[in-house]
């Protein structure tokens, strides 16, 4: 299978956020700022690539009956490693993302890719699938975070664009997350179908 095609498939055609609508909990929860979205996207990217590669390497030794628990153990291992490293070396990012890092374990994108892709392809292809899907997720979350931060507080990546008091708070709260996500999906759909 063509590697570029796999990469673009995850990034655009099957974008986990805008097309598949997977992993909505971290999508809505961490995108109150562009930085939060980017951090969450990169964290998921890391775990996704690692778990995809490892799962596709060990797929032949795992009996079919216990593949889901085995996949979860592998994913959870990488998530915990990430959590410990982030706590140690990026304590400030960890403070903002906090609860959502351990929740990557139950993000359906990871188990979904393990089941749908990594369990049927070579490690090399799985790497590119993880990269594509992970980048698609990262781009989507960062975009969502930028728009919400801009409309909500007048900042982008913490840089002020217009005075904060003119920002509509709803955008950094949960209802605003749904509104922005809905409009982004609509815009991207209309660009794609044009």
């Amino acid at each position: 299978m063509n590697k570029t095609k796999i990469l673009l498939n995850g990034l655009i055609k099957e974008n986990p956020t805008f097309v598949l609508l997977l992993g909505m909990c971290p999508t809505l929860g961490t995108t109150t700022s562009a930085m939060g979205g980017l951090g969450m996207g990169l964290s998921t990217l890391f775990v996704l690539i690692c778990s995809n590669v490892v799962i596709s390497m060990v797929k032949s030794i795992i009996p079919d009956k216990v593949r889901i628990p085995a996949f979860i153990v592998i994913i959870a291992t990488f998530v915990t490693i990430l959590q410990l490293c982030m706590q140690a070396y990026l304590p400030e990012l960890y403070a903002t993302l906090g609860l959502f890092i351990p929740l990557i374990v139950v993000n359906c994108i990871l188990l979904g890719r393990a089941e749908a892709f990594a369990a049927k392809h070579t490690p090399g292809e799985s790497f590119f699938d993880g990269l594509g899907i992970g980048l698609g997720f990262t781009v989507a979350l960062t975009l969502l975070g930028c728009v919400r931060e801009f409309l909500g507080t007048g900042h982008i990546f913490g840089r002020p664009i217009y005075p904060e008091e003119y920002g509509s708070l709803i955008f950094i709260l949960a209802p605003g997350a749904f509104i922005v996500l809905g409009f982004l999906i609509a815009i991207i759909h209309s660009i794609k179908t044009r």
């Binding site: 153990v73 592998i74 959870a76 915990t80 490693i81 706590q87 140690a88 070396y89 709260l173």
Partner: protein, 192 residues
Amino acid sequence: MLWSLTLITAIAGGLLGYTYQLTEEPIARASKASREKAIQQVIPTYDNSPLDEQMTYTVHNEYGETTATIYPAKLGGKLAGAAVECSNNTGYGGEIRIIVGFEADGTIKDYQVLKHQETPGLGAKMGDWFRTDKNNQSIIGKSPEECNFHVTKDSGDIDAITAATITSRAFLAAVRTAYAAYTESLKGGNHE
């Protein structure tokens, strides 16, 4: 089946144990650094190590028992004030955890909000509101000794955050608790 699962979990366990060992020390260092930074911000002048001399004191008041952590700041062996960390559970979103720096005479030097779940744009403004020198908002430079640390609506001397009275009440209650912990622990004489 048994073997492959055992193998996977054993490798995962080993990997995690190794990472844990590797990161244990940096994590402890990072959490100590952030605490130290908070203390530094609220009570800047000391030459001892407040973190090593910390003690806890339990305050009994209308909110029940609250355990406060006191970090004494000393200059040349003499008590120059303290940073007191404590919390109050009556905020709009539950717990509000703050650290307040007192000078030796009980005047508030500065404060930091460590943890809260108040509404953004309303209660969440408490981090700046109570240090802004406008009307009777600020608590900096005041002492709960001579100033009534209640919101003006409850006939106190401090202006509540606009449209966030509940948060303001909880915040000021936490400050009063911190002050009580500071003065009472001094009276108890267990700060040496």
